[in-house]
Every structure is written in C-alpha cells, then in structure tokens.
C-alpha cells in the first residue's frame, strides 16, 4: 500500500487528536481553509473550531499563545504556513519554549510541536526558501525532526506530538504529494518512531551519504547511479537533526571510511559541518578521504528557474562528490 506524505501527516494529526483531547492544532488557515497545503484536511469538521484554531496573522502572538497553552496543560501543534515565517516567532520558540523547562528546573515542561514546510520549494524566491534545520538544531531544549518518507512523516509526527518537549518538525512542500509504500505496522495507530535515531535507507560499503528530507531521495538516486559504476553507497536518512544520531553515522563511516553530507540549506555552520565535526571527533582515524559537503549555494534563493536549480544540490552533484571521496582524482576544473 502507498500513501502520500500529506496523508501520512494528516492521519498522524487525526489519530493523535482523537487519542488525546488536550492536543489541538493552531495556525493560519488550518481550519476553514484546511491548511495552506491541505495538511489539516477534514480536521475542522471532525474536531470543531475549538481544537482547530484559525489565527490572525501574528506569528509572534499566536506562537507565544501556543507556548503558554503548553505551559498550562495542553499539547498544541502550531502550524507555520512555512518555517520562514517562524522567524517572526523565533523568540518564543527559543526563549519561551526551548529554555523554560531548564529555567524552571523541570517545573514547566513545554509539550508543543512547531510544524510546517521548510527549505526550498519551487519558484518562491529568496524569502520563502530558507532551510532552518541548522538554526533550530543549534539550540538546546529543542528536538528537531525532518521526515523524508510517508513512514517518517507518520512515525515522527506522532512521536513529536506525544513528546513532552518542544519539537521543531520540518516538512518539505515538494514532498507532500509524493507517495511511499507503507507497511501495516506503519499504518497502525500505535506506530511511532524514536526521536534521535537515523535510518539506514540503503546499505553500502564504499561511501556513506548522509541526507535529510527531500535530499534523501536524491541521495538514493545518486546511490543507484553509483551502484551502476561499481560504487556501493550507504545512505543515511538522518530523520532527527537534534539530537543527531552520531552513533549510526559514525558506525557507517567506520565501515565505509568515506563521507558525503548532503543538505539543501546554506553551507556555513550547517548540518554537514556538524556531521563532519562529529565524525572527526569520534572516528578520525577511520576517515580515508576528506568529508565532502554538498549544500545549497551560499546565496539567497534566486527566483529564475534555471538559477534556482543551480542553487540547490542535484543528484549529479552527489554522484560527483561520492566519486571524489572514493577516488580523490576528480580534477578541480571538472567540478567547476
């Protein structure tokens, strides 16, 4: 059986709201409009306007309200129409949500989920295309998840909603409509994935490729191409950016001795940098080649389709990087 990521998210919301009346959904257009991307389809009809709350356009205000509700016994799910808009609310995500359990010495836990599409979409320009994974994963007190498949989306969202701590849940608009095969287990309402565990999507022995969200699909495509050329790539779907599953990453690198990191976001202080650091810290002697970082171009996202394509990693870039890591012979000119 196959379901789309949208269906996975929608069913996860539905099941968790039905299981726990203190769970509610709030944000712009989540109710009558059923979500800007229809993730909350049908929920208003089923749970009514008290539990599916359309808010005025006040990211700072409604996010703070969500956090306050979480302080006081509820389990809010705050939808950002895109995570870009969370910049207007980031004070509450960091100060009011992430730091309060610590500041209050465990008296005030903050069971809240911040979710919505993150990163590049298509043709939406510089303001709507940023990836916030590295920013949020920088901050203690937050758990940061990034699903790729329908299984990830269901299992991680249900875990996030049940978790007693603030979770930043980074979806990807371009994946909403993608279908993935799912097992009966995944469809069971008790299904849940552990927070903090990566998934090895494909076993391999020559090179490790780490990726999250949409880039997992690209990494898998790259692995197919590499396989035809005799390179066996292991693809790790990070699933959790914070905590980062250093154990799984390091175990893989200790086997393959080579690492390519892939992300759509900006390179500096990004996910790749941290993964590189953790491998250097834990498995330095196992590395047979420099870590190859594939990231978004270090520029605001351009609008024009051809420039936009150049600004985000393509499957070919991953293939080339993996080859560089394996042979270390690709001359500079060829990559430029």
């Amino acid at each position: 059986k196959e379901i789309t990521v949208r269906e996975a998210l929608n069913s996860a919301l539905d099941e968790e709201m039905s299981a726990d009346p203190s769970v509610f959904l709030m944000g712009e257009e989540v109710g009558e409009y059923q979500g800007a991307y229809k993730i909350s389809k049908g929920l208003l009809d089923k749970y009514g306007p008290d539990r599916v709350l359309d808010t005025p356009i006040t990211e700072a205000g409604f996010t703070g309200i969500g956090v306050g509700a979480a302080y006081h016994g509820l389990r809010p799910i705050v939808e950002f129409m895109t995570f870009n808009f969370s910049m207007q609310a980031i004070d509450h995500i960091i100060n009011s949500a992430a730091k309060s359990n610590y500041m209050s010495a465990g008296q005030i836990s903050v069971p809240i989920v911040f979710r919505g599409p993150n990163g590049a979409a298509a043709g939406v320009g510089a303001q709507h295309s940023q990836c916030y994974a590295a920013w949020y994963a920088h901050v203690p007190g937050l758990k940061v998840l990034a699903p790729y498949s329908a299984e990830d989306a269901r299992g991680l969202l249900k875990a996030a909603i049940r978790d007693p701590d603030p979770v930043v849940f980074l979806e990807n608009e371009l994946l909403y409509g993608e279908s993935f095969p799912v097992s009966d287990e995944v469809l069971d309402s008790s299904f849940c994935l552990p927070i903090g565990k990566a998934k090895i999507e494909r076993q391999g022995k020559d090179v490790t490729i780490t990726a999250f969200s949409k880039m997992v699909g690209y990494a898998l495509q790259a692995a197919d191409i590499l396989a035809k050329e005799g390179i066996s790539a292991e693809v790790i779907n990070l699933r959790s950016i914070r905590p980062l599953d250093r154990a799984t990453i390091n175990a893989s690198v200790r086997k393959t001795n080579r690492l390519v990191t892939v992300e759509e976001g900006f390179p500096q202080h990004g996910i790749g940098a941290e993964i590189c650091m953790s491998v250097v810290e834990d498995s330095f002697e196992y590395l047979d080649a420099p870590v190859e970082r594939i990231a978004g171009a270090d520029v605001p996202m351009p609008y024009a389709a051809n420039l936009e394509r150049m600004a985000v990693p393509q499957v070919d870039d991953i293939v080339r990087a993996a080859k560089r890591a394996c042979y270390r012979v690709v001359p500079m000119a060829a990559t430029a």
Partner: protein
C-alpha cells in the same frame, strides 16, 4: 458588510458619526484618462499573468490585484518619482502604477535577465530603484517598518542633510492588507510614525479576506481606520472601489505628509476578483459576496463616470484599452524573447561590496572563486 463609509474621520472629534459621502470631486479629462489607463493596464496585465502562469511561464506564488486597481491608481498616480512605494507579494500593479515598464515586470515574472530584478526577485519581490519602488515584501508586516524607515530617511534627508526639494518632504506609501493589520509591526509603526511625524501614508487595502480568513473572524474591532486615532493619527475610511474618492483622500494624506504634518492611516474597502494567489481554489468566499463586489468593478465605474461627465467618449476609452492590450502583448513577447539569466548571475549581488566576502587562498576574492559555493551545485 460595513456601515461606516466615511471618507474622512476626525481624530480630534473622536468617534463621531460618519460624515456623509461627498459628491464626486471633479477631475480633468487628462486626469481621468490617466487614471483609466493605469487601472486598465493593471487589469489587463494581471489577466495576462494568469494566462502565462497556466502556460508555465511563471512559477511559485503569483498574487493578482484584480478588483483593487482603484487603490493603486488612486494613490500612486499622485506621487513624484522621488516618492517611495512599499508593497507586498501582491505588487505587480503597484509597480506599474509607479512607472516600472510593463515589459520589465513581465520579464521579471518570466525569470528573465531583462526583468526589473534580472529574474532574481520574482513575483513577490519587485524592486525598481529608479522608480523608488523599494520592494515587494513577501512576509506579512515586513514592509511596514521598511516603509516607515524610508519615510524616516526622507525626513532626515530634509532636516539633517538638507537634501530634498522645495515642495516639502518625499512621501512614502505603504500598502498592505486587512489581515496584516492584526500584526504587531503595524501598531509599532503607527506609534513611531506618529511620534516622529513621518511623511508616510499607511494604505490598508481591506479586501475583506486574508487568504481564507475573513476579516471579521480575525479582528476584534473590524474598523481598521479607527486604529489611527488610537495612536493620535488621522484614520480615514474610503470606498476603495471608487478611484476618485480614493484619489481625494490620497491627495489630502499625501499633502499632509509632504508638509511635514505626519502620517495618515487610510482604510480602503475593496475586493479581489480572483483567488488569493493563482494556486488558491477560492472556495470560502460566498458567490453573492463576489457578485456584490463584481457589480462595483472600479474600472466599469470610472468608465461610466467619464462618459456621463463627457470627459471622453466610449471609442476613446476603447482605444486606450486596445493600446494597453498591445503594451501587454508586447511585454509578453519581450519577456519570452529575453534570455535566461546566465550562470554567473547566481553568485552576483550577494553583496554590494563583495570584497568583504573574504579573500581566498589564492589571493583572489572568494566570490570570484569557482569554489565560492563550496560543496554545492558545482556552478
């Protein structure tokens, strides 16, 4: 939906009963035709955008302005070149009214190198420095402080740098929607603009909806213009489907700003004739509401007025329309024939001074280094 239709409310007198709507103010033939032409340009341009979007010529979120033309035209046609306009994601028509050539806007929408931002900005981010169109801002509220800052700069240039002309201050218009008036940045700027008497007009295009959120469901007191007096600022409500009424209110507010007497909040009651963006199924607005406002089409209304007042004949107006059709056709041809941005553009314009962007191991600026986008898309 609303009863208050006062053209002007008096702060000092408090919440007095709405004044009676005055008779249409006179315009000259030239003025009337300029307004008509600008509104028709806005309409035809946007209709063409819809076609081009469905043909895959433009991408992402495209927000059209149909129905609201009286606001853009009524306000912006009163400005000088040195005056500033700050818009939102719904910015094509504000750009056109401010004088950005239709071909530059269309080419931008096509993502071409001849666009007003060489294809780097896109539908939601129109800029044209020569026209002092200083941005389409895609985030709610963002444009309001930026516009307030432009007005601050105008005052500073006048008073500290002694730069501006003899007519008074350069004026900034900030355009934004009803939904945006719930956002904190709106109120922060009402306060500061009034406190510092900045030459700005806050133009609310109240089209009654923010995507699928009805204004009445979003706002505890839906009469937006009343927020002005709460900050000691004049607040005016005007029929945004009547370009002449808009223009009259606009003239007063702009002149007030130019004289250094401070900001005005103007709420224009209007309606969008299409969905929120071209991706919006537009299922929540009731048919009778749409019909009601369709009957108040600002272009039809102005046409009727022009003919009734004998300012021009039907054929003359037709020929304006025809002319605009050609202009827009030509814009499409231009955009279509224009080149895509070259690869090198990807790395340009990150900084005005890329020197600061570091010096590579080879002594060259990093931005000139092919590894500048290290590890990425292999440009």
């Amino acid at each position: 939906l609303r009863t208050a239709l006062a053209v002007s409310s008096d702060v000092l007198a408090g919440n007095k009963a709405a004044q009676a709507t005055p008779a249409h103010p006179a315009v000259t033939r030239e003025e009337a035709l300029e307004l008509y032409e600008d509104m028709v340009l806005g309409r035809i341009f946007e209709d063409m955008c819809a076609q081009m979007y469905y043909r895959g010529k433009m991408f992402g979120f495209v927000h059209l302005y149909n129905g609201q033309e009286a606001v853009s035209t009524g306000f912006i046609k009163l400005l000088n070149q040195a005056d500033c306009v700050v818009s939102t994601y719904r910015d094509h028509v504000h750009a056109l009214s401010k004088g950005v050539p239709p071909r530059s806007v269309m080419a931008e929408l096509f993502g071409k190198a001849t666009g007003c931002c060489r294809g780097q900005g896109g539908s939601m981010h129109m800029f044209s420095a020569p026209h002092n169109l200083i941005g389409g801002f895609a985030f709610i509220g963002e444009g309001i402080p930026v516009a307030t800052g432009a007005a601050f700069a105008a005052k500073y240039r006048h008073e500290v740098l002694k730069e501006s002309g003899p007519d008074g201050l350069d004026v900034t218009l900030a355009f934004f929607g009803d939904g945006t008036c719930n956002n904190g940045q709106f109120f922060e700027c009402l306060n500061m603009a009034q406190l510092w008497k900045l030459p700005i007009v806050f133009v609310v295009e109240n089209n009654l909806w923010a995507i699928g959120m009805s204004h009445l469901r979003a706002t505890s007191d839906p009469e937006i213009y009343k927020k002005g007096p709460a900050f000691g600022m004049p607040g005016v409500h005007v029929d945004g489907m009547d370009v002449l009424k808009v223009r009259e209110v606009a003239k007063e507010a702009i002149e007030r700003a130019r004289r250094g007497e401070g900001p005005t909040l103007v709420e224009c009651e209007t309606y969008r004739f299409r969905g929120h963006s071209l991706a919006d199924p537009d299922e929540l607005r009731k048919p009778d509401e749409k019909t009601h406002y369709a009957a108040r089409d600002p272009i039809t209304a102005l046409k009727k007025y022009i003919i009734e007042q004998n300012l021009a004949t039907e054929p003359e107006l037709k020929s304006i329309e025809k002319n605009i059709d050609n202009v827009v056709e030509e814009a499409v041809e231009f955009a279509d024939a224009s080149p895509h941005p070259p690869r090198s553009q990807l790395l340009e314009n990150v900084f005005a001074d890329p020197k600061g962007f570091g010096i590579g191991p080879d002594g060259k600026y990093r931005c000139e280094d092919p590894k500048f986008t290290q590890g990425t898309a292999q440009v």
